[in-house]
């Protein structure tokens, strides 16, 4: 490996990217577009989920709980119902997505045992919305029952009882109840995967298609020098896009970032090695630009958007699909990003996904190094 040759190829590639409108659009505008589309698209969907209420008790307590729902941006109460048959009909007819049933003994149990249950029925046909709605409902109930418990504690002088409503972990770390918090870190993974693989998938196929490869391979430059020289510019672009996404997420969408920049930089670099390596593999294997682009979209966008857990929680997938997600390299990065943004996990907490990414990166780098052959055969 000669640094001067690598640099020559990197410089040449950079000039070509600068003069290629298509590459510029992918590198510069696609991240912004994706952030806006996915950032807003998802969060708008999830506001004002229609709910119905069947209040069996009709007490002051139950009214107070329902006020919590009404006050939240995430729900609109569309009907007050009198029996279970009406509840079922309301769900079936799409009058509401979620129905809440407050039991007869709601207040009684709250004062006797310090906790009480509220039933929640969801229309499961739209799993994703239902899941997120359930999360919100739990959080709304939690803030309410927290208040009640504190009041009880003030009366009797007892320690506040444990229990109440158990929340899912992701809602715990998403205390603003904003689904964007939960989505945006994953969107960053999606953007990096798409941009990285799309750009690099063109780098080798372009040279084959334009006939410049034949001349390049007649020089003493080695295939590893070609690979390194071609990937360096995309690595830099990938990191720049990551910084852009971070800034946009924090300052535009106000997603908290609680981790360290070092961990983010380190894991992002690992992810880029994998993504660029996959793009390079595709590019080396498929000599037409269009074919390479299509395959790149297929192997990055599809698994990343469906199976990485960026929007659809992995633990709610069928077991077989859950097993498959271990093969999707983006899943590790999504896990890491969510932990970095929302929990502020340190590099040691993330040891296992980082380890998985290191294995992935080594395998892909190894394969990519052998994929490109300096021959026309």
């Amino acid at each position: 490996m000669r640094w001067k040759r690598i640099r020559a190829i990197a410089v040449k590639e950079m000039i070509q990217i600068r003069r290629d409108t298509r590459s510029l659009i992918i590198a510069l505008f696609m991240p912004l577009m994706q952030l806006i589309l996915l950032g807003y698209g998802v969060s708008l969907d999830i506001k004002h989920v229609p709910i119905c209420v069947y209040d069996q008790e009709g007490s002051q307590n139950s009214q107070a709980l329902l006020k919590h729902f009404q006050a939240s941006d995430y729900f609109s109460i569309t009907a007050l119902l009198g029996n279970y048959r009406q509840v079922k009909r309301a769900l079936d007819s799409d009058l509401c997505r979620v129905a809440i049933v407050v039991p007869h003994d709601f207040s009684e149990r709250l004062s006797d045992q310090g906790s009480s249950t509220v039933s929640l029925l969801a229309d499961a046909s739209d799993d994703n919305t239902a899941n997120i709605a359930i999360g919100y409902a739990q959080a709304v109930v939690a803030t309410f029952s927290g208040n009640v418990q504190l009041e009880a504690a003030g009366f009797g002088g007892n320690p506040p009882p444990q229990g109440g409503v158990l929340l899912q972990e992701r809602v715990w770390f998403n205390e603003g109840l904003d689904s964007r918090y939960f989505i945006i870190p994953g969107v960053i993974a999606l953007i990096m995967a798409l941009v990285g693989a799309l750009l690099t998938s063109l780098t080798i196929s372009r040279e084959w298609e334009r006939g410049t490869m034949e001349l390049l391979i007649s020089t003493p430059v080695s295939s590893n020098e070609v690979m390194a020289g071609k990937l360096i510019p995309y690595f830099v672009i990938g990191l720049a896009d990551a910084v852009f996404c971070l800034v946009f997420a924090v300052f535009w969408f106000h997603v908290p970032f609680r981790g360290t920049l070092f961990t983010l930089f380190f894991t992002t670099s690992l992810f880029l090695v994998v993504v660029l390596g996959v793009g390079f593999l595709i590019s080396a294997g498929i000599k037409s630009q269009i074919g390479a682009t299509q395959i790149a979209v297929l192997v990055t966008l599809l698994p990343t958007s469906i199976l990485s857990g960026y929007a659809f929680p992995i633990d709610q997938m069928p077991p077989v699909v859950q097993t498959i997600t271990y093969l999707v390299f983006a899943r590790y990065y999504v896990t890491i990003l969510k932990a970095l943004f929302l929990k502020g996990s340190g590099i040691l907490d993330l040891a296992s996904p980082i380890f998985a990414m290191i294995i992935y990166a080594s395998v892909v780098a190894f394969l990519a190094g052998r994929a490109f052959k300096k021959t026309l055969d």
């Binding site: 020559a8 001349l215 007649s218 003493p220 026309l376």
Partner: protein, 312 residues
């Protein structure tokens, strides 16, 4: 031919097949230092494939290529330091400027910056390209593109230059310039292997290989090759050249008739046929100068030899 010290290219028993085609078939030749070796042959004869095998961008199925003592198949990277290859299809970056392309190949061949100016400037001058330095390669004319290709090929002063139809689509004046440069290179001891579709160009090579269906059918100096011409060649100038061709085709004692603009080349079995031909044309009422014995051109030779191959 025994490869001596001055042999820079030695191809022996090269075979290369593609699905359904034998592109190169048991082919051997050598090229000496300072020699211009020409490859001619009809489309699909295998010229490009041979040059690719020499350049090390494709591996032969069988056989060896040795460039300046280095085995190209076994040690391609080292051999490539002494080689320059100009593919049939323009191989430079059209979205880079002339200067950027030159600098790129100078970097790839690790030309030290101190040497660059003294090497690049004279090249630009002798190719008449100084004023186009900032132009994108894609916006150059066909002839200028080929010159740029040759310039990039010469940046590292190669010992062997492999040119695949470098003058196709280039106007005759630029083509002459191109050949001037090739002659000056051979004076510096560079060996040149060149394929060409222009037969008058082929006559300028020191040695010429006529390729047909993957084989070299004849390989010699242009003068010796011309001796392979059967019969005698007569040149007839006429404003009605096409009529002359029609009238003579298939007549007794006439081996071949070749139309060349306002001239017709007629191959006859015996020089004494001249009188018969002149009389026949007069009787047909065709205006024509009397037939004159002439030296066969490369085209005559080529057509004649190919005819023989096709007959088997």
């Amino acid at each position: 031919m025994n490869p001596g010290e001055d042999t820079l290219v030695e191809a022996s028993h090269l075979d290369k097949s593609f699905p359904g085609v034998i592109a190169v078939n048991d082919l051997s030749f050598t090229v000496q230092k300072g020699e211009i070796f020409g490859l001619v042959g009809p489309d699909g004869a295998g010229k490009t494939t041979v040059i690719r095998l020499l350049a090390g961008v494709m591996a032969p199925d069988k056989g060896t290529v040795v460039i300046d003592g280095i085995d190209v198949v076994r040690d391609p990277e080292r051999a490539k330091e002494h080689l320059s290859y100009m593919p049939q299809r323009f191989g430079l970056y059209e979205d880079l400027t002339v200067d950027e392309n030159i600098q790129f190949y100078a970097d790839i061949f690790e030309i030290p910056p101190s040497l660059r100016q003294e090497r690049i400037v004279p090249l630009l001058t002798s190719f008449g390209m100084e004023e186009f330095r900032r132009r994108l390669a894609g916006q150059l004319s066909g002839g200028m593109k080929q010159k740029l290709g040759l310039m990039c090929a010469l940046i590292h002063t190669p010992k062997v230059l492999l040119l695949d139809e470098p003058t196709t689509g280039v106007d005759p004046v630029s083509r002459r310039d191109f050949w001037k440069i090739l002659y000056s290179l051979r004076e510096e001891g560079v060996s040149i292997v060149i394929s060409t579709a222009y037969l008058e160009e082929a006559a300028r090579c020191h040695r010429l290989a006529l390729m047909y269906k993957g084989r070299i059918e004849h390989c010699d100096t242009p003068d010796n090759l011309k001796k392979l011409m059967p019969g005698t060649l007569l040149n007839i100038e006429s404003s009605q050249a096409r009529k002359v061709q029609k009238a003579l085709q298939g007549q007794a004692g006439i081996l071949g008739v070749l139309l060349m603009g306002d001239r017709v080349h007629v191959t006859v079995d015996d020089p004494r046929r001249k009188a018969e031909i002149d009389r026949a044309l007069r009787e047909e009422g065709i205006e024509a100068h009397p037939a004159v014995p002439t030296e066969p051109s490369m085209e005559d030779l080529f057509v004649e030899l190919l005819k023989k191959e096709e007959r088997g």
